[in-house]
């Protein structure tokens, strides 16, 4: 069939005159990794707080945390992205809105995407943490309390260390989800991997080469994250605890 394969296209110059197509894809890789890392930090921080507070037993706090989770999990990520990008600047006080709208588009899309992805993922992390804490045998917090540890101490020295070890596998898949979800940011103009591949495809008509490159990059990131998680699991592992050898 009439598709002209041209694997050398990666070394041709992109329309911006500065990078080769390979260069734009690598730029895309940097944007993907960058936005993912920033979003992950936001997600851990906010999700950690919401998750821990959702287990404290205070009815109002728990209801608020549950509401937070429901809000972010029932609206598609793309819609949330549009809300942050198009609606948010309009509903905040005029000065902040102006600042956002006149900022350098590369950074405004980056930060919008990072905040959107971060908060979206934070609700999922909150759920994991709550599930982890609730899955701990009730005797653990009781024993810690019986020794005289205060509530914050119980969380800090017993509940959270145990929960973190237990939820490492689901957290690994949340991290991978986050990286995949970063592709949605291309719809607001962030030139991450998918955006770079799409742009390359549009200019060169070398469809399969472009998307194959993107595929390879995502698989590579995937492998790195999985290896990282395995290393973390090994570092944190405690002999005799949940499936570790005695």
């Amino acid at each position: 069939m009439n598709y002209n394969w041209n694997w050398m296209v990666f070394w041709e110059m992109a329309p911006d005159g500065v990078h080769t197509y390979m260069g734009t894809l690598i730029q895309g890789l940097y944007w993907t990794v960058g936005v993912s890392i920033v979003a992950w930090c936001i997600a851990l921080l906010v999700g950690g707080i919401v998750g821990v507070f959702g287990t404290t037993g205070n009815a109002w706090v728990e209801r608020f945390c549950a509401g937070y989770v429901e809000l972010f999990r029932n609206v598609p990520l793309l819609v949330q992205m549009f809300l942050w990008y198009f609606v948010f600047p309009e509903v905040v006080p005029a000065r902040l809105g102006e600042f956002i709208k006149t900022a350098d588009p590369a950074w405004s899309t980056f930060w919008t995407a990072a905040v959107c992805l971060g908060l979206f993922t934070s609700s999922r992390i909150a759920v994991q943490i709550q599930a982890g804490i609730r899955a701990l045998p009730a005797g653990q917090p009781m024993a810690a309390t019986a020794l005289g540890l205060t509530r914050p101490q119980v969380y800090r020295y017993v509940l959270l260390p145990l929960t973190v070890r237990m939820i490492l596998p689901p957290m690994a898949s949340e991290a991978l989800n986050l990286i995949k979800n970063s592709s949605v940011a291309f719809t607001i103009g962030l030139l991450e991997i998918t955006g770079a591949a799409r742009s390359m495809q549009e200019f060169t008509f070398q469809i399969f080469e472009s998307f194959a490159a993107a595929t390879v990059l995502y698989v590579a990131i995937n492998i790195v994250v999985v290896l990282l998680m395995r290393y973390l699991e090994k570092r944190l592992s405690v002999p005799g605890f949940i499936g570790q050898p005695r």
């Binding site: 009781m142 024993a143 019986a146 005289g148």
Partner: protein, 244 residues
């Protein structure tokens, strides 16, 4: 030392503790027994405020457990508790399990905590395992570490909630031996258990509970030597557990 005064507790509309009054003096060993569901575990957990109660008063060395102004962490540090399922912290080594509360609650230095931990491990016969993790120890070993962990806080009294019920039979004695030694040294102990052999050896008094209320509270001798004077329910219970 430990005083329960007319303590009652409800879960919703279901009453789990019915007007319980017990007085335990310093150095006394009191064994609480009774059928499951009788409320004995719940009762012992009210003593260090792990379970709240709605009516009555509990005094530990004169300090009221239920009073709002009572500093609970400090109070709990003065009473040791040993659980049925050991509840060692699996992510910490044996040594760290012993040191954690000493440092964080009592404010001891790391060295002091370490010293105290070592001497207690030696006392329960487990010095060789100090750097191991709970997952690597047998049930009997874990429970002995748990006792050491509670003792590390230098408590004025010890509470035991069915300490041997979750152990395989061959490990029960190693734990009971530690408890007997503790009793002989004069520790105030409140022990929920079915181990009547232990009660016969070191208990000063035996309390029998049924359906949330205290049915018998008598000296060990009365309980074991003159069983015919016990209530029917106590006799029935005794007959069931004394056959093995």
């Amino acid at each position: 030392m430990i005083e329960f005064k007319n303590v009652s507790k409800w879960y919703g509309s279901f009453q789990v503790l019915n007007d319980c009054s017990i007085s335990i003096n310093a150095g006394q060993v009191v064994v609480v027994c009774g059928p499951s569901g009788s409320g004995k575990s719940t009762l012992i957990k009210t003593a260090n405020a792990l379970e709240p109660f709605q009516k009555g008063e509990i005094l530990i060395d004169g300090v009221s457990v239920g009073a709002r102004k009572t500093n609970l962490p400090q109070l709990r540090a003065r009473i040791g508790m040993v659980f049925q399922h050991f509840e060692l912290f699996p992510h910490l080594s044996v040594m760290r399990n012993l040191e954690l509360a000493q440092v964080k609650v009592l404010g001891r230095t790391a060295d002091e905590a370490n010293q105290r931990g070592r001497s207690l491990l030696e006392r329960v016969g487990l010095s060789a395992h100090m750097d191991k993790f709970p997952g690597q120890l047998s049930g009997g070993q874990q429970q002995r570490v748990a006792i050491a962990r509670a003792l590390a806080m230098d408590p004025i009294a010890m509470l035991f909630d069915e300490p041997t019920s979750a152990l395989d039979p061959e490990m029960v004695n190693e734990v009971l031996d530690v408890m007997v030694d503790l009793a002989k040294e004069g520790m105030t102990m409140m022990v929920v258990t079915h181990e009547m052999g232990f009660a016969r050896k070191v208990a000063d008094r035996v309390i029998f509970m049924d359906e949330g209320a205290i049915v018998e509270d008598c000296s060990k001798d009365e309980f074991f030597e003159r069983p015919e004077e016990l209530s029917d329910r106590a006799k029935l219970f005794l007959s069931k557990i004394l056959t093995h």
